[in-house]
């Protein structure tokens, strides 16, 4: 029998803020009055309509979560793209477009509820969480880290972000604040082109050794969320398997080149 699942729908979104996020990306804060709220890690579709009725639709991860009507996106400009250059370079506060969602119920994470601890002691228990992002793949993981922080969830959570340079880091200040505010959340960076001053670690494409050094060990049986380009996710996920992680505990989200 078909499970009853709630339908998502189209909503009108108004741009409240549009601010530079990295040299190639922009953070958009949307107000969506009919938004039903979303879980951390979900995505939505943006639909733009031209005066002659032509439409273009693309999927974007959501950097926010919870029941409110504010929805935060961070869009990276794909050179030659049709929708992302418009969202990064053209859109301004007050503009409106349509969004469809929230979408996806697999690449999501929920903080533990108050009172859940006791029940969990006899069950699987809350599992530690390892988040791993390549570039703009950090966007849905920011939502997860923020939900963890807002809930004061004591479950250990660790985020590894691979970026080209320090300037390319999305939500850098927000993530640093989360790491300062909670002993349960820690943040690691890997730099592929240029590291900040004083950095003593490796600079170059992320390696298996780096991953092994900073991710929660397989013995802790963490849930692992990996998000980034296809090549990044393929490499990291295969290393995780080699490092003993259970394939069933690894969730991936990849973005292609369209």
């Amino acid at each position: 029998m078909i499970a009853a699942v709630p339908r998502s729908g189209w909503h009108v979104a108004a741009v409240v803020e549009a601010s530079p996020e990295t040299p190639s990306a922009r953070r958009l804060v949307l107000d969506v009055p009919t938004w039903p709220g979303n879980a951390a890690g979900q995505h939505l579709d943006v639909r733009l309509t031209a005066p002659d009725g032509y439409t273009a639709t693309r999927s974007y991860s959501i950097a926010s979560s919870g029941p409110g009507t504010r929805v935060v996106l961070a869009v990276d400009r794909l050179p030659g793209g049709e929708v992302s250059p418009f969202l990064v370079d053209e859109v301004r506060a007050g503009d409106e477009f349509e969004v469809h969602g929230p979408l996806g119920r697999f690449f999501v994470w929920h903080p533990i509820e108050p009172g859940e601890r006791l029940a969990d002691a006899s069950a699987d228990g809350p599992r530690p969480v390892q988040l791993i992002a390549g570039g703009s793949g950090v966007v849905p993981l920011v939502a997860i880290a923020a939900a963890h922080g807002a809930a004061h969830d004591p479950t250990p959570m660790r985020l590894l972000v691979s970026v080209r340079t320090p300037e390319d880091a999305f939500f850098g200040d927000d993530l640093a604040d989360l790491a300062r505010a909670s002993d349960a959340f820690s943040l690691d960076y890997a730099y592929t082109r240029r590291a900040p001053d004083g950095w003593t670690g490796h600079v170059g494409r992320l390696t298996r050794d780096e991953v092994a050094a900073v991710v929660l060990p397989a013995d802790d049986a963490p849930l692992v969320y990996v998000c980034g380009s296809t090549g990044f996710v393929e490499r990291v996920a295969s290393w995780l398997i080699e490092l003993g992680h259970d394939a069933r505990a690894i969730r991936t989200e990849r973005f292609g080149g369209t």
Binding site: S8, A56, P85, D95, E96, I250, R251, G256
Partner: protein
């Protein structure tokens, strides 16, 4: 709903009658999977069809090839809005495998190495509509695209074309598969934009 976005004129305009609504032409071949890529060797590969009465029909790699490989040229459509037109595949039509299978079931659940599942009406995987694909664009199918063998059901969104396919289980009643449980449409016709529930 007609809803003009200020300043948006559209740059792609790659409209083509073969492109279903809401789809954009992809230049590359994006990969979408829920988890890590399983590595399956053709020496160990098996494909099983299990009927509603529990009868199992199993093919190994050579047995699959012996059932008759054919060329398939088709358009493919992903729920995440990309389509590719005129893609080239080689595969074994499910019709050839179902020649030996007796069933009155109306639905199949496709199962994959790695645990993925997706459900399909039986009548939509027969009569030249579905294949076990083993080559893409003249080369053996890459593991990240589902190699060594994936289901190919091009008239439905591509999540129905289960990668790393290992079997079909016939079902008298329909049940949702993996993405269908996570909010994707139960049927998935690109021309009717059956993307999500």
């Amino acid at each position: 709903m007609s809803f003009i976005t200020r300043g948006f004129t559209g740059r792609g305009r790659d409209r083509d009658d073969r492109l279903p609504p809401g789809q954009t032409l992809a230049r590359d071949f994006p990969v979408l999977s829920a988890g890590p890529t399983p590595e399956v060797d053709t020496d160990e590969w098996e494909f099983t069809i299990r009927t509603e009465s529990g009868v199992e029909h199993t093919w190994d790699w050579q047995g699959l090839l012996d059932a008759g490989v054919e060329d398939v040229e088709t358009d493919i459509h992903c729920v995440t809005h990309w389509s590719k037109l005129g893609t080239s595949w080689r595969g074994v039509p499910l019709d050839a495998l179902f020649e030996e299978v007796e069933t009155d079931a109306g639905y199949v659940m496709a199962h994959s190495y790695g645990g993925y599942t997706t459900n399909l009406p039986l009548e939509e995987v027969l009569d030249g509509q579905a294949w076990i694909a083993i080559d893409y664009d003249g080369e053996p199918l890459d593991p990240e695209h589902g190699g060594p063998a994936r289901l190919l059901v091009p008239h439905l969104y591509f999540w129905k074309s289960a990668k790393w396919v290992r079997g079909l289980v016939l079902m008298e009643d329909d049940q949702p598969g993996f993405w269908e449980q996570y909010g994707y449409h139960n049927h998935g016709d690109p021309w009717r934009e059956e993307r999500y529930w």
